[in-house]
């Protein structure tokens, strides 16, 4: 029986973690993640979970302790944002290289300098090459559902990889939304008992984690890691299918909105996608065939499926809430790579929006769709990459 609640994204994630009841959780404060782990700490203090929390002195130690705990053999979680994720960066590679299924909500926030505590995607985009699976979430419901599914994906015996669940700082983490919780028993049943793989605590079979690997084998280890990533897509879809049976909510590799016959489309991640569906509806009402693609699984990236979904569109704008300065936005680069193998492909432009908590307003999406409409009709592309909603 689903329970309808009005909660923040942080609270929803904390509750998902409580329902999963992991063995160890690394806790360190950083805005805007802080109250997710505060909430979790209160579950621990009040005996609502069996979890032992480690109140670390930094995110670097948090991820290090999580790696130690996961290698020891058990279910491990933590959560972070922004500078915290940046400080973890070194250890993110080690978590994935060691194939440890640590689950981590990342409440997306800008990176310094200048210092800014508000939402954008610079943190998680900066970690896209760390070997973690990344699931992105439009709202609190997505964040909750993704967090629960992340355990099944990361812990799958064919996968054994860490998973980041990304949700927008403040916009989602701190806004109260109506959403549905699953029952505790349903979540428990869905994620199942944790299955160990090469645990250090198996004292009878002493193992060594983290050897020095020389050039004669390193290349092979990395190829193996890449190959495992290629298996993730199928697992994500299988887990989503099971989740749909349980919850009635459908998830895929990405979400297409009115894309089938679209002439123009936006690609946009996370919370801004909600606003964009309304904009798309407005254009459709005016007879303009607009559509939207909202990525969910960003790592590994579903290139073929995205190419299939966007291939027939005439003009596409990829909206990035982070920038690769001097290059294109990170989402743009993936969409561009996905479309390149096609014989005929859409005109593709890149717009950077909403950095450091700048609001994404309907007129921003509308202006871009108007521009795309002109391009689709044969108009010239003025600029392939540009910032929008920015003052001169």
């Amino acid at each position: 029986m689903a329970k309808v609640v009005a909660v923040t994204g942080n609270e929803a994630c904390a509750n998902a973690l409580r329902q999963v009841n992991p063995d160890v959780c690394g806790v360190y404060p950083i805005t805007p993640q802080t109250d997710m782990m505060q909430k979790y700490a209160s579950y621990v203090s009040n005996g609502k979970v069996d979890t032992e929390i480690i109140l670390v002195e930094s995110e670097h130690s948090s991820m290090s302790a999580c790696i130690g705990a996961a290698a020891a053999g058990g279910r491990v979680v933590t959560a972070t944002s922004s500078q915290g994720l940046a400080l973890m960066w070194e250890m993110l590679h080690i978590a994935s290289g060691d194939r440890l299924p640590i689950i981590m909500p990342v409440v997306n926030r800008a990176l310094s300098a200048p210092l800014n505590i508000h939402g954008d995607h610079s943190d998680a985009m900066g970690a896209r090459d760390t070997g973690w699976v990344q699931l992105w979430s439009e709202n609190a419901q997505d964040a909750y559902d993704n967090t629960i599914q992340a355990f099944r994906i990361g812990e799958h015996m064919d996968i054994r990889l860490p998973v980041m669940v990304c949700l927008d700082g403040f916009i989602i983490s701190h806004s109260i939304e109506r959403m549905e919780y699953l029952e505790d028993e349903e979540v428990k049943g869905f994620v199942g008992e944790y299955k160990n793989f090469l645990p250090l605590l198996d004292l009878d079979k002493p193992k060594s984690y983290g050897p020095l690997i020389l050039p004669d084998l390193f290349h092979e280890y990395k190829k193996a890691q890449h190959e495992v990533m290629l298996k993730v897509k199928d697992v994500v879809l299988k887990v989503a299918a099971d989740f749909e049976k349980l919850s009635g909510r459908k998830y895929g590799l990405f979400e297409s909105y009115r894309l089938d016959d679209a002439d123009i489309a936006l690609v946009i991640l996370n919370s801004a996608a909600g606003t964009t569906t309304d904009i798309v509806d407005g254009f459709r009402a005016r007879g303009i065939k607009a559509g939207l693609l909202k990525p969910r699984l960003f790592r590994p990236f579903p290139y073929d499926e995205v190419a299939e979904a966007l291939g027939k569109v005439k003009a596409v704008c990829v909206m990035d809430r982070s920038d690769s300065f001097g290059g294109y936005g990170p989402v743009f680069m993936e969409i561009s790579s996905a479309l390149y193998p096609l014989q005929e492909r859409p005109v593709l432009i890149n717009r950077i929006y909403g950095l450091g908590g700048r609001d994404y307003l309907p007129e921003h999406g509308e202006a871009v769709l108007n521009e795309l409409d002109e391009i689709a009709k044969g108009g010239k592309v003025e600029k392939y990459k540009e910032y929008i909603g920015v003052r001169e």
Partner: protein, 97 residues
Amino acid sequence: MKLKGWKDLTPGSVILEGGNAVQFKTGSWRAFRPVWKKENCIHCLFCWIYCPDMAVNVKDGKMMDFNYDYCKGCGICALECPGKKGQTAIEMVEEGK
């Protein structure tokens, strides 16, 4: 030894066999070899406890011999050996001589 392909590797590069470094013999590093003079040995086992390479064989509390498969020839044992009546029980001899 045939090198492993990417499909043959243990996930996470975990080494499953504790202590399998015994398969890697370091004795070839040696320039000088310790030679045990049994007659001067008082079986104090200082050579054993101070050996960085676990290359001194001891049985029932008695020094037996050196394990030349692993001894790197550092000479700590010879320097620390008290010997008997000032006569050392371990002498370092240049390899090949």
